[in-house]
């Protein structure tokens, strides 16, 4: 019997720029290493799959003590600070010549990464299939677990 292909099963439940970025770096790298890769998006992670959202995700400076530029919470809570922190983060990413989230998403699709939206989260958050990008599968916990039960590494973001 041929050896079963190694799988990479990722869960992404956050919809912020930094977290989604980490999930897509690992997903694309996994696919490049010829692992069968799937990312399961639940709760706030669904934001990543909404049409036109991928390059608009943000990073919050609030309660985020690891930001390279230290922003006190009393300042971070002010209107406009999330946008400011996001544009700072994007400029650092550009300087480090990392791909944008949109580019990584395109790569993931090209490499055959399965993007699965959690049906139950869609119901909770009132998100319809039409709001999601093309090529997304819709499934439940069993869909993900069945995939992950075969020779998989599982990562959660």
């Amino acid at each position: 019997m041929a050896e079963e292909k190694k799988r990479l099963a990722i869960i992404c439940i956050h919809g912020s720029l930094d977290v989604a970025f980490a999930a897509f770096v690992l997903a694309t790298a996994g696919a490049a290493m010829e692992m069968e890769t799937a990312v399961y998006f639940a709760f706030y992670g669904l934001e990543v799959l909404k049409k036109g959202k991928i390059d608009k995700l943000k990073v919050s400076p609030l309660a985020n003590p690891a930001m390279p530029v230290k922003i006190p919470n009393i300042v971070a809570m002010l209107p406009g600070m999330t946008a400011a922190a996001t544009s700072m983060m994007k400029s650092w990413m550009k300087k480090a010549k990392v791909a944008s989230l949109g580019e990584l998403m395109e790569m993931a699709k090209e490499l055959g990464v399965r993007l699965i939206a959690c049906q139950m989260s869609m119901d909770v958050m009132g998100i319809k299939k039409e709001e999601l990008i093309e090529g997304v599968e819709i499934g439940g916990a069993a869909t993900f677990l069945e995939f992950a039960s075969h020779n998989a590494i599982t990562l959660t973001f």
Binding site: K6, V25, A29, A32, M33, E34, K97, V98, A99, E110
Partner: protein, 79 residues
């Protein structure tokens, strides 16, 4: 060792992780078994990443050298 003649050259200079290995994978997919890819990267992480990539995918890293800030890899498609 005689000079290696690559069939395909791929320049990933300036690209950060994970792009060098993604582009390497795509280039190797488009080649024939036995052909050699010369891949150039400037990401210092690519030294361990390319080794890990060939270990996982089964392709062969024939040679790896450094010229200034460039890391040059010769990879033979094995399957």
């Amino acid at each position: 060792m005689a000079d290696l003649i690559p069939n395909v050259t791929l320049d990933n200079s300036g690209l950060a992780c994970p792009m060098p290995i993604i582009k390497t994978k795509k280039a190797v997919d488009g080649m024939k078994v036995g052909e050699i890819l010369k891949m150039i990267a400037t990401d210092p992480g690519s030294v361990s990443d390319v080794q890990a990539w060939v270990d996982k995918t089964g392709h062969e890293l024939i040679k790896h050298e450094q010229e200034g800030d460039k890391y040059i890899f010769y990879i033979r498609k094995a399957k």
